[in-house]
Symmetry: D3
Subunit: 341 residues, 6 copies
């Protein structure tokens, strides 16, 4: 039985150089669309949930193409407002080996950043819904976007939805001070928080001890500590943390941890040959939400999330095009990559 | 002997759908860079002149790529300022037959629109230069861009350069009232004005009688009338008008007229099977400037300009990649398209 | 106010050689999906109607991709059954000048050809719907497909929907005898029939006098005659005929005629530089249905249909990606193809 | 001195998504042709043998393209029959890291599956030939294909050719019971059998002990056991087994074993960064047949086969485009991948 | 019954810019192989004849690819010698409208230009053959190539083959004086000569009166005159002339004339929308040779040749990928370009 | 403050198969331009130096495209001579895993190989310059090229420039005897020599003990020995050696050593997942020259060079598109490949 899930945020036009080209070499860009919250919606639609993505896009063919891209993969676009000046853009250059991937943002003044209260009827949007998800990116876009996020989270909470938030700190969008103030207010409505090692520190000053993120070493104890502090501070029901070990732009270790207020569940760790790591964290969230919506145990939930996002790293674009069956297959241990005929 | 020519304006990232794809079908965009004034600079560089393009681009790889694109085709980029938030973008969908080409602009808040006085040292820029060219697009970008254009034109005039302006009215950038006010002030520095049938009317209220631009019928007398009125009003030395007969998105008639204050010179008319008509007018200007810089007779000048821009319509991208020899070959009558071995 | 429209038939995987490559040259195929009835559904979705496409596709990623392709362009896929062995395929080589386009069908044993009664609940499907459309291709696929079409048409008629049929005779799928028998039975439920010069003759033995389809000459009187005979024989409310004049694979004349039982309305004729003529007839039907659903006069209806399908010929793929506004713009006379900024 | 070798089976149209795209993302398919037996023929043609591939393809441009693809790489196509309804198709999605490659077959009712006795004159085909090779796929296609395979093997044996068979069990084509019955009958004509760890068990119930194929661990003793049992049961002169260790879709261990009735020869093992592993087994067979045809020692034969197929994993498409010199170079120890200038 | 036909000359690597790109824009080249004599061989192979192409290519992968390209389309490559330094190259930029196509040759020191007598055993090559064809390009490559051509023509004549020559004057390869001397010697062995309006004049000083080749006007009487003079001078059995009217790079008129020593047969004239005109003349020769080999009447022969080469202009690459049936279909009047299903 | 650096040599048209295609599979070639000395110039231009590349290219669009390619990336092309017959070409097939990359040269008779003394005015070229760099490839092209190189080196030395040479032995261009003679004469002008393990031995008979280049094992002591011997023999101020450990075509170890006449500095070693290793050595030279020009310590210099060239291995084409900041970032230890936003 599909459940209605709502995510809210920005969808951007993603322009990436083909293969491993650097920006200065590009004579064409691959075109797709994505963003943290829409990526989660696509994951959930692929898993069979009734996923709605709420945003505002300009009333031009670029905005229409973003909507079409979501529809193609089964996301419901009924509540998307039309108007504003432009769709946010991000340019992507895919790294390899010691050369990191590079993102150039061109997202100021996007339709969603300039959206206003009347663009969304939250009562109608959340009617019949089970879950609301947002990220720390949306309130960072603009003051009005922060107000919209706050209104959405409050109404969702009032209407009894489970509310989740991926902390997702973006230093180019706001200062840590501003982030801490706005996010702290938002956290009162949040049941499930997801973050990585940077987010907790940058947004809330909560630090994983003994971790140097460029060295590829991760401290399990440190993460437990962060999760517990977050849960204590904001009363989260679940705190999930993604654990990326960056060996190089081509190879990463990847796993996750879930804390349910009592115990800490670490997923299996995957050593991944990377095809496209953008949206990796979002696919973890998509997997986690699916698992929690379907009453997985915490251990299964974090493993489902980790397996889903492991697969995402092998897929081009922001979106995670995998089925529940494929995730379960990997989760149950078959990472051999043998041809499926 | 090469002459130093300076053009000033905006260079945009051009993102066009491959072949005849509509925007909603695109999975990739062809990438090039262009804009009225840079297009003229490339024409002149290809003709062997010392062409400088002046603008401001963001200090990121997209801005660098725009510079590289100009350098590739021989344009001097020494005076380009770096900074600002973003490079303007335009999206292009190429039409065919009865379906028109479609341009979606996303150019607000570009680096050049937010450039300020200190970004350019006009004395240095015009040092040793023979000609300065700008278009009606640049002052329309922003008030500061208008001020910069005015300063540039004034200094150029003071330093003895010939100054030319392509009127190029863009209704999405400003109102006719604003355009008339700003452009009227700018015209005092202009020696050579270029426009099409819409510009004179929209900007200065000067109208070509008996012309219906969608019907494909053009009145020679009407154009003479417009050119004469423009020259009289602003004291231009030359007025050039491009005459496009739009039979369809695939086939156009194309020619030009040059008025030297005394006589009216109509070029040969070309019936063109269109590959890419964006930049067609700019390539006419490029040809005209080259011809006038090299003391062509008015008749030869308008014919060189028309032949150059005829060829542009067969070339992908904003830029006109042709040599003087190729233009002369067409100008002298060989439009047979026989293979050159 | 959107109206629910249902179309029923086969959607195929379309594999076409890039550009003008012949099959023996191809190292890749462009992938899209299409078929007469889905093409009509996409047209209607683009025009803002609530368009449902009903078919059966295999439960594999190729079948899923067909669904995704429909969803992308706004078609509702809720009633599509899953199962069967394969998706039908057609290979397409695009012609040019004197070289005709070539279609190789590989559609036998497709999921829809082997679908059975239980796959579709017509009562539910037609609930709240205003219009049902099918073509002569679907009953030709197999005996079971013919039975399904008959059931669908009968239920639609019983439930008060307007029923339309594009005769679309396919000689590779059935004999004229078989076609005549099955189609005659189906016609009792049909209100609006659409065909071209071949269909009426091949299916019902009704012939347009004085017409030689390869010569490019079309007789207006002959078409009137055919339309009148069809309407008299089967009691159609409307008969529409598409009039294609094939000058070459690159250039066609294109227009349509609508007969409302009283008068004959000929549309404006378009001389088209062809990009992709597959789905041209379907886009005429899509335009016609939209116009009739929205109470256009017969004259406006046939002109809307002809303009819509004129534009289709400039668009790659089976689908017609145009808006009502774009069709009206052409219909109102602007075929000049001037760039829209 | 080239030797005439005949292989018999199906050649399919292979449609693969570009790069690492998933099926639902594909807007184009890369086109090539292949199949177990034609892949072996191409290997042998590249090694300089006189390789004939025997099959039946439809008399349309798709069938012609398959023939052209074989001719391009030097395979003789003189005995290929024309007719039937369609060419079999397989769709391929290339995996990466933990995401396996995926094959969707659409091969029912292919020309070769519906071929009949009169299509091939085995006496003529085998005239002057030294070797006949087939696989367990061909008899699985249909009962008539099984009869044709049986006839071919019998005639080949009678005419003194060496007969080889790659067991190649395909569970989607037939049951293990059916396979065992048909294959057992065929084995009486076979001199050289090739298989992997699954084939022997699935087809003949002969099992490699202590091997878990998804774990990447392979038991040398188990394979010896299987080879010996196969040789004893059917009197094979040689039994070869390919040993794949699937670490992931991107990295495999690869080696082979050859049993000559007395001794067991294990090749060097290659750790391969995979480009395209489809046809990997066939390229081992191609290498083995070449080596045995040219009187290599068993040890050299299995090493030649392993080196040849190691290289295949780095080549796109089903076919192995390598020369004897390239294989020998790797076989003799240079796997350093240094640029060859 | 297939007839053995031998052509001799150079096959080059053709590197063309994609679409309508100019050289300075190209980031990739489309790769194919071609040249006057191999183009004729491919035509004949496609028509079902036993076509052998004789040349020398370097013993490297580029040479191998040229051979593969011929084999793919059914040309027999048994007599191709291997060795020498390089394969000749030509770069192609496809024109449009008033912009001509441009060819840059880089063919000096090619394997065939440096081939020597021992590379070819003409007795063996012509054994069982009916026809030998060469062009005026081969003897122009080098003195040794001229000697080889002379030897081949003499042996062919001695062995009773019909010998044909396409005059094909290339001003970049030799002077008119050198051409006249060598070609005059060669003509003694020639039965069938083919040329265009330039060749007769440049090579033999025989001029078509009243013809201005860039104006698009062709004089029928002039061509008759040229053909008659050629036949008289060298005793040709047939003289064929291709008549190209270059309206532009996109549109040409195309027809041919055949003179059998008595009468002049003009083919139907085709107005062609050009896809790729390189190899247009060669495809005329291919059609003519097929028709004469199969005892067509002169009228049918010239019409077959003209229809075949009309179709070539719609096909990318040097080669003419058409069947006898397709040529006959156009020849019999169907140039309507209607889709063939 | 930018310094003027001059490099002299050949720029070639590079034609590479897309992705991992073998030559026999290619239907297109990726086009770029490169060569040892121009690659160094691009590195230096990217690092902000005033880099001039001196060569001769043919006066045709291919030569122009080579110039454009250099200009695009900021290299000054003012001293490039025009003329000669052709641009040298090299064909590249990119290897993977155990399959090596393959280069086919077609560079004989290039414009630079046939250039003469008058083509270059070395006094003018070196005016104001700080550094001159050449490689062992240029004098190997032809006797005249050797004379030109000698003249250039002598004038550079006389004018007080620092002179560097990458030994770069190419066995297909000359014998070791010829190389030793010419290079020995050139070495008298050289201050900084760069080589790899092969060069010193092949050119000067100086051997690194205990090193087997195909085994991937490198002896640090051996390299010290070679560097010291080179410095002693020719009086070099610096000797740099690149140390490549070829595990496979996909994975290499990469580092460098610098000897300043006293001490030996080994850089950090990088294990690289290779995208394109052509130009790897040149990018080391580019980094080294930048570092020495900017007074880096020997330790920093070799580490800057190694980091720069490590990044090159992840970039398509001959050129190294990296900034000083990017190199420093890697040099300072961040090889984690984390996304840069």
């Amino acid at each position: 039985m599909s459940k209605k899930v709502v995510t809210f945020g920005e969808i951007m036009l993603r322009l990436s150089t083909p293969g491993y080209q650097r920006f200065v070499q590009a004579e064409s860009f691959d075109v797709t669309y994505g963003g943290g919250e829409s990526n989660v919606a696509v994951s959930l639609a692929n898993f069979g949930e009734d996923a709605y993505f709420v945003t505002k896009v300009p009333d031009n063919p670029i905005g229409q193409s973003a909507i079409n891209h979501l529809r193609r993969f089964g996301v419901k676009t009924d509540y998307i407002a039309r108007g504003g000046e432009r769709l946010g853009i991000y340019f992507l250059e895919t790294g390899a080996s010691q050369r990191p991937s590079k993102v150039v943002y061109d997202r100021a003044n996007s339709a969603i950043a300039t959206a206003v209260e009347g663009d969304f009827d939250w009562q109608q949007i959340f009617s019949g819904a089970a879950w609301f998800h947002f990220t720390g990116i949306t309130p960072a876009l603009s003051d009005s976007a922060a107000r919209l996020t706050l209104a959405a989270a409050r109404v969702a909470k009032e209407m009894g939805l489970t509310v989740s938030c991926d902390l997702n700190y973006r230093k180019k969008l706001w200062s840590t001070e501003k982030a801490r103030q706005v996010m702290t207010e938002l956290m009162q409505y949040v049941d499930v928080a997801i973050g990585n090692e940077e987010d907790a520190e940058k947004v809330f000053g909560i630090k994983a001890d003994n971790t140097d993120i460029t060295s590829g070493e991760l401290s399990r104890e440190g993460y437990k500590d962060v999760a517990r502090k977050l849960a204590e501070k904001f009363g989260f029901k679940y705190v999930a943390i993604t654990l990326r070990e960056s060996y190089s732009a081509s190879d990463n270790g990847w796993s996750g941890m879930l804390y349910d207020g009592k115990d800490y569940y670490f997923s299996r760790k995957y050593n991944i040959r990377i095809v496209d790591r953008v949206g990796g964290g979002d696919s973890f969230v998509g997997g986690l939400l699916y698992a929690l919506l379907n009453d997985y145990t915490p251990e299964d939930a974090v493993n489902f999330a980790a397996a889903a996002s492991c697969l995402k790293h092998t897929i081009l674009g922001d979106f995670n095009h995998v089925t529940v069956e494929e995730v379960k297959n990997l989760m149950s241990g078959d990472g051999s990559g043998r041809v499926q005929r």
